[in-house]
Amino acid sequence: MGIPEFCAWLENTSFATAIRQSTWLFPAIETLHVLAIVIVVGSVTMLDLRLLNIAWRDRSIREIHEDVLPWTWASFAVAAIAGALLFSSSATKYYHNIPFRMKMALLVVVAINAAIFEFGIYRRVADSREGERIPVAAKVAGAAGIVLWIAVVACGRWIGFTK
């Protein structure tokens, strides 16, 4: 089964049909999606700004990582599930939508950036204290994170304005 066939099957499942036909289900799930995304973007930006030495400089990167990122991950799970449900309601339409494809591609880049940080850079910068120099690699990861998430939100918003 190719992707177009999968989309056709998905949008004919009972839950996808229910979301599509209901007047309130789509906006309700979309609201959940937006609530989760704003928490993901805002919370991860707190860490990114620390990596750039712009905000929260009096706390170690480890402390912010431990305090904030669990909320980011939990919200991301909600955003992903809600997003998948929204996608299912008109899978074929979204699959052919350019901003949607860009958003998914950007999320792959976000994941790569996060993986490089989590499995490498983080260990080197976790315990850097106030006033300590932050390696360029960590700053690049932080800046990339901010730019990528802004682009993800923009693409997400654009989906609603394209046919």
Binding site: P27, I39, S43, A154
Partner: protein
């Protein structure tokens, strides 16, 4: 009367420009949502600290003084982008019950946030000494912000 105002506003050259150039509204909405991300995350972190759920390694006063200034910084941008959206589609917003509920909730939550910050500035131990009140303020604030975002999204479906 409000209907007349909306009709007049939607025929001004500024409004017509916003209506005609198709990328303006999604671009402004994107900036609006990014600022919502700042406000929601900062308020969630502060409110959850007030309730005693998140960031408990540091005192409440640290959370309040860390997060509230970001909200005051983001709100003017939210106001400016919100006004652009209203000018572009006046009756979609001004005649919409969800928009009105959103604005009313916003006023209440701003008052709460201001109060939380003011008491904290006067006495850093204020909220630490009043855990019950802190939890109520935090829960109420978080609930209102969630309601504001929900109303914001439902404006499009009225």
């Amino acid at each position: 009367m409000l209907q007349n105002f909306c009709d007049w506003l939607s025929n001004t050259s500024v409004s017509l420009t916003i209506q005609t150039i198709t990328w303006i509204i999604p671009a402004v909405q994107t900036i609006h949502i990014l600022c919502v991300a700042i406000v929601m995350s900062c308020m969630a972190m502060m409110d959850l600290r007030l309730v005693g759920v998140a960031g408990t390694r540091r005192p409440v006063s640290a959370a309040v003084s860390r997060f509230v200034p970001w909200v005051w910084g983001a709100l003017p941008v939210l106001l400016a982008t919100g006004i652009i959206l209203i000018i572009g589609e006046p009756s979609r917003e001004l005649l919409n019950p969800y928009f009105r509920l959103k604005m009313a909730s916003l006023v209440v939550v701003i008052v709460i946030t201001f109060f939380v910050q003011r008491q904290n500035t006067k006495d850093a131990a204020y909220w630490e000494a009043r855990k019950g009140m802190a939890a109520i303020a935090g829960a109420l604030s978080l609930l209102l912000w969630v309601g504001i975002v929900t109303c914001g999204r439902w404006i499009a479906y009225y």
